[in-house]
């Protein structure tokens, strides 16, 4: 294992992040506060409680997931797309690196950044609502796994993208709708039966449900299924990346 290389990539990527620390920090704080104003105050005044949890607290897990998933994808996709765009991938390809090491460097950094944002949001949220975390270990595990698996997905998008528009396309057209429709701001049980069934095809539902269970002990789907879903998703992304590097798809002609 070329640890020096992994750390070189990781540190360089993190450096980019910390150079703009104020931005990285302020924007999630502001957007979380806005969500609380809009959803918590406006809607929360009508929906008092969901299954015994105050609406303000109920949306926190979904809010964290929303940001963490978007951040993990955008950081990882940009992280690998940027060198591709600049033509500096020659350096990665000609160095004594395995695909695993490249992925660990880039995905590790992107996941760390997303995790950082997630923690910032949780901290901000705790200023607005009284947060209780019933299963802290599961909460951390879900958070970290989500960061990692969506950073893997972002990495794939970054390799696939041929221009900046494509880089934005997948998150905008697929991921954001999936997250919004994935029960971030409501319980699946609040939907009409037919939509409940359709929703079960949305993988994000399992993540948010599992994550919310870690906080409140309430879940839309059994916790085991949530675990299987996220593990399966991670495995799928890993397999795709393994295939990409083996075949050299879009990186090695």
């Amino acid at each position: 294992m070329n640890w020096a290389a992994i750390s070189a990539i990781y540190v360089t990527e993190m450096h980019r992040f910390f150079r703009t620390l104020a931005q990285s920090f302020i924007s999630p704080v502001i957007s979380t506060s806005l969500y609380f104003v809009v959803f918590g105050a406006a809607i929360g005044s009508r929906i008092q409680e969901v299954e015994g949890v105050s609406y303000g607290a109920f949306i926190v897990p979904g809010l964290v997931m929303l940001s963490v998933i978007t951040q993990a994808i955008s950081n990882a996709s940009f992280g690998i797309y940027f060198p591709k765009f600049l033509g500096t991938t020659y350096e990665l390809l000609s160095a004594p690196l395995s695909f695993l090491e490249i992925v660990l460097g880039y995905v590790g950094a992107a996941a760390t950044k997303a995790l950082f944002i997630g923690v910032v949001i949780l901290a901000t949220a705790s200023l607005f609502v009284d947060l209780q975390i019933q299963h802290p270990v599961a909460m951390v595990a879900f958070l970290v796994l989500t960061c990692v698996s969506f950073a893997l997905m972002g990495f794939i998008i970054g390799i696939w993208a041929g221009n900046f528009e494509q880089l934005q396309l997948v998150p905008l057209l697929i991921i954001t709708p999936l997250i919004f429709l994935g029960g971030s701001f409501y319980s699946i049980s609040m939907l009409p039966p037919i939509w409940q069934t359709i929703t079960l095809f949305n993988p994000v539902v399992y993540l948010i449900s599992g994550f919310r269970w870690a906080f409140f002990g309430l879940a839309d789907v059994p916790i085991g299924m949530s675990l299987v879903a996220i593990a399966g998703f991670t495995a799928l992304c890993l397999a795709a990346i393994w295939w990409i590097f083996r075949s050299g798809w879009r990186i090695r002609s």
Binding site: A5, A8, P83, G87, T88, Y90, L93, A95
Partner: protein
Amino acid sequence: MAAIVDIRDLRKTYDGGFEALKGVNLSIEEGEIIALLGPNGAGKTTLISTICGITNVGTGSITVGGFDAVRDYRQARNLIGLVPQEINLEPFTKVIDTVRFSRGLFGKPRDEAYVEKVLRQLSLWDKRNARAMELSGGMKRRVLIAKALVHEPRILFLDEPTAGVDVELRKDMWDIVSELQAQGVTIILTTHYIEEAEAIADRVGVINKGELLLVEDKATLMARLGQKHLQIELQERIEAIPEALNPHGLELATDGQSLHYSYDTRGERTGITQLLNDIAAAGLVLRDIRTQESSLEEIFVSLVREDAA
């Protein structure tokens, strides 16, 4: 001496079906400077890229320092530094950071003294805190060289290091290359400038349309080039070359009216004075004399043409 890079029957077909390398064989000796000379599109970059791991090998084999470039890629690539043709650098990154990063990628521990040494050698030390976008084209090229050298490779690939570079910078580059050779680095450079191959290479390989047409010592190639031809036209037709002229190795044209003499311009003496004296002594009368030389350009053009035919 054992070859440090050994390429056997290397073929490469790009996805579109284009065959960019058609069975290249090449052995590169440790410590030499070899120039791969060829026009645009000849396959120079493809050849370098396959050795360095940037494009997939089609068929054939490549060993670097005895290691298979595909199977033992880590050991092979540890020996190699690559300076690409295109100047690709992250615009906002400082010179010293990008150089450190390259060292890290090759798994080497941090070594500030060595980074400084490389930057100084390339006259970049004063610019170490400049961002790539603030540098001139020549300086950026130096940064790429520093990045390629900072993991202490034994082999350096330079892909068209002086394309689009002005004359002065070109001389600078040549100085850098010979300095590196003095330190024992093997250098493989590609160029489409004949003068460049002539100025710095020990051996020259001529490549065109994916084929390596010849690889020769520059001295041999230059000797071929250094050949001049003297055409001596005679007032009167002769049947045979007079015996007294035999030592000069002349050839008589079929019309019997001109003699052909080859000589080496680099030799101590060309033998022309003696030849002309002997011709006069033999009683031949001259009508005209002409000289002709073959340049590397000519040899190159004729090779490429033969190849196309």
